[in-house]
């Protein structure tokens, strides 16, 4: 269907003619996406893209969509957020012009942000005030508003910064009906410090483990919790492009302790938590660190074959990257001392890296740049099973992953970048986030192996009691396959979408929940 002239004019009337386009060239960038079901080019070309500049314009666009029986899909920076139309007759709502950091409340440690303020900007502004923002794995160019309202929202500084489902305060939400709801304290004009109440917490229908990826409306402004930062107000870059490190500030320390097995590493994790000594801990596969420590694939290959990559796939398999921080010199020294003792007591050792390497990995941990770098080897990567559950399950989960992934690695199947791909960290010290992520290629055999592995990993997660499914977080076509095993969560999602927020299915449902069940793979 082409966009009717009446609808086009109506959109122009809302956002101004300069900010509506139905040009095929312009639209190309709005149906090309990594992470979709169809390679890079996704099947549906939007009818138009609009660039609203404020909430009232977003509301106007949504009302036009209602009036002319169109769908809409919200879009921020577009990385890893499945920001493409999943259905026909869609208007893409690119929120690029809504890019402000409206306020940073230094005392109360939160920011009020719009959709296109990126994490790197918010972090830089926060650091000037002794604060930091949680940055999800997508890295510094992602939209924290999108991550907090609509996507996973998980990043490796979880030990001290939780994750964005929990960092969401007040919410301004343009519902697919065209209504504007303000959840929490902004609803009664009291500020942006709380997203819960009055009474029930409607944050619970905004999102869950995952978000709706725009399938439940458009979030135009949020309060985002910030966290203390003891480092410098402006971080000093070291090294040179692309191996840019950060000078490790006073009262911060980066190290890479490793253990002989998952159990010892788990024991260390519990002690780290109980003694409250670390700012962040992160586990990524050894190759990922080596990719970070080399400028190009060519450089990595050369080092790999010379045996000079610094992180060994076997010896350093069970390793945390740890940042220790202290608000005072006394606190820092105490924490460092205890941390070192923990490593010793649990049979760990510290890997000695050069100053430059330490600074690069420190930067990767603070800025969260591992995932963007993971695309370098093959241009694509996939993630499969994992969990948000007890730290005690790390060994079981990771061994299961090793066994499972092993079956799918080999010629014509998944690339061999090590025996597993677990990215793990501790959320608030109360649970372990771990997901098996690995590089893939576009070759058909690899894609088939990937899909088979992903499906099997979903089944294994349930059969081995490894906690809630982390893989697709239920999005779209997976929801009806995974939900029945989790007390029919899919049906509650369906009710929220079609009974509460979007009775006419105006917001693109593709990455949220279909009107009728779509079962791909029974997982029970």
């Amino acid at each position: 269907m082409a966009l009717s002239r009446d609808a086009y004019k109506a959109l122009q009337a809302v956002v101004g003619s300069k900010y509506v386009s139905e040009d095929p060239g312009t639209l190309a960038g709005y149906h090309y996406s990594w992470g979709g079901p169809n390679g890079r080019w996704q099947p549906f070309v939007p009818l138009a893209v609009v660039l609203p500049e404020d909430t009232s314009q977003v509301q106007g666009v949504v009302r036009v969509c209602n009036r002319y029986k169109l769908r809409f899909k919200a879009h921020s920076t577009g990385f890893c957020s499945l920001a493409f139309p999943g259905v026909e007759d869609t208007i893409m709502v690119d929120l690029r012009r809504m890019n402000r950091i409206v306020e940073i409340d230094e005392k109360n440690m939160f920011a009020v942000i719009e959709p296109y303020a990126i994490a790197a900007q918010i972090q830089a502004e926060a650091m000037k005030r002794g604060l930091d923002c949680h940055i999800v794995s997508a890295g510094p160019t992602h939209s924290p508003l999108a991550s907090a309202t609509s996507v996973w929202g998980i990043g490796s500084k979880g030990l001290s910064q939780s994750w964005n489902e929990r960092n969401l305060f007040g919410v301004e939400w343009v519902l697919p009906t065209g209504e504007v709801a303000r959840l929490g304290s902004p609803g009664v004009g009291a500020g942006w410090f709380s997203g819960d109440g009055p009474g029930p917490g409607l944050r619970g229908i905004v999102r869950g483990t995952n978000g709706a990826y725009g399938g439940n409306g458009i979030f135009t402004r949020i309060g985002l919790k910030l966290y203390p930062w003891v480092g410098d107000e402006r971080m000093e870059c070291t090294g040179s492009q692309p191996q840019i490190g950060l000078k490790i500030p006073e009262r911060m320390h980066f190290s890479l302790p490793y253990w002989k097995n998952w159990e010892d590493m788990t024991a260390a994790a519990y002690k780290i938590v109980d003694n409250n000594v670390a700012f962040s801990v992160l586990r990524v596969p050894p190759d990922c660190m080596n990719w970070m420590l080399t400028s190009t694939n060519d450089e990595y290959q050369e080092a790999f074959h010379k045996g000079s990559v610094p992180i060994d796939r076997e010896e350093h398999l069970h390793a945390w990257q740890a940042i220790i921080a202290g608000h005072s010199e006394r606190e820092f020294e105490y924490r460092k001392k205890v941390f070192e003792q923990i490593v010793k007591d649990t049979g760990g050792k510290f890997l000695q890296l050069t100053v430059e390497q330490n600074e690069i990995l420190f930067a990767a941990n603070v800025r969260i740049s591992y995932i963007p770098r993971v695309f370098r080897p093959t241009g694509d990567f996939s993630t499969s099973f994992g969990m948000e559950e007890s730290i005690n399950l790390m060994g079981k989960l990771h061994r299961t992953g090793e066994n499972l992934l092993g079956k799918y690695i080999g010629p014509g199947k998944l690339p061999d970048h090590g025996r597993e791909g677990f990215w793990a960290w501790l959320n608030e010290g109360r649970s372990l986030h771990s997901e098996n992520a690995f590089a893939v290629t576009e070759e058909p055999g690899v894609q088939a192996a990937n899909m088979a592995y992903v499906m099997e990993s979903c089944r294994v997660t349930n059969s081995e009691a490894l906690g809630v499914q982390i893989l697709p977080g239920y999005m779209g076509i997976f929801a009806d396959s995974l939900g029945p095993a989790n007390f029919n969560a899919n049906e509650w999602m369906r009710k929220v979408k079609y009974e509460v927020v979007d009775p006419d299915n105006v917001a693109d449902h593709f990455t949220y929940i279909f009107p009728e069940p779509v079962v791909l793979m029974p997982t029970e």
Binding site: L175, G199, D274, N486
Partner: protein
Amino acid sequence: MAKENLAMIVGKDQVSDAEQILSAYGSDESFVSPGLPAYVVKVKTAQQVQQIINYAKEKRMPVIPVSSPGGPRLRGDTIASQGGMILDLSGMDRILNVDRMDKIAVIEPGVTFDQLEQALRQKGLRAFKPLLPRRTKSVLASYLEREPVVVPRDHWDAIDPLVTMEVIFGTGDLFRTGSASSPPADLQKQLDAGLRQCFAAGPGSTSLSRVVQGSQGTMGVVTWGSVICGILPEIDNTWFLTAATPEPLIDLSYQLSRRRLGEEHFLVNAFQFATMMADKGEIAALAEKLPAWILTVKLTAGGMLPEEQMAYQEKDLRELAQARGVELKSAVMGISGKALAELLDNPPEEFYKMKHRGAFQDIFFTTTLDKTPGHVAVMEEVVRHHYPSNEIGIYLQPMVQGSSCHCEFNLAYDPTDRAKTSNLKALYLDAGAKLAGNEAFFSRPYGPWADLVYGKNGEATALLKRVKKMLDPEGILNPGRLCF
């Protein structure tokens, strides 16, 4: 007929329509109008709850869930304003699991703080508690009502310390939230497999536990929940920091939050402190002698090097205080930090707010700490000529790691004095309205405050009503509360 049907579900002895039983639920300490239920039904299992809800749904019979085994009930949220049945969950009082490693417990709704605390201590853990809860208070009810806990450091998010839950919605559907929703469905099997119900969000793209929280029992009935616990410290020292005005202590409190220094951490005025600490009849006298404002900080240490940990924390705290010209004291007017810490750990038999004049009303809301002096000024203006301003207890509790603050004004009164009671009621309503107009967020809108906030809440109120319709289509759960 209904009684027989209910008895078939829970057993004859567990259903009552005796007036003396019913009347215990007919009114409470709030200004909410009394209302008698038709029945009180005591349940023991989730299956019974589910059957009761299905029955009530069919009969359009209101169900008012009550978890705490005893009163005084304070907020009017358990009054059967439209009749129906009290669903008494206090008999579901099992502690289903305590895990030291993950610092988490799974409890039923009838479990009280006392009960939980005892079980946790045996494993080296402690419960996160609100300020001096009444001894009969259900832990889950307290957490579901978002009562602020006194340890803001570990209060990361509004839902804390609650994590996951099993809940039966008004539809009759049994549901599990967060990581508790994952297979196997049997809780014991989950525990045996190493799962600890320790991740709150989800499942899928909803976190319905957030919707149940703060709903005053209008969305579903929680049959168990997992709750975060703290580590029992090996050493603890409770300190007082005092000042004539709240501002320097507010500044200090922000620093404590930022550094996550100290566990218990709250700010009270002299009258509030006296109400907490003094014996009946001695409250006013003590309040007069106390510093106007007192910030309490409990430093704790444990783990590998507890003495060193305590030493650095005390030095850091002292430095922070000195920088603001505030003195660090181990006791005020002979009341030691240790005494307060003991009281916090072991709340008194008599609910402390009733001590002064036999009854009280508290006006509380969420705000940010920096706005609280403004709220105090509004309150003082409201009470002028109507209530002695020096007898207002003020309690400021940083929440969500200091990003917001529970602000509470306690007004004691003699319930036998009708004129004063009437006066206080007017004052209570007036204060609520004026504070709401001054950016006070009545996030837990009990009684008349519901009207105050839901009228202003625009589309969010309409949205909330649709959520209610989804989870309780017949409107049987606690009708008359909130905006339902």
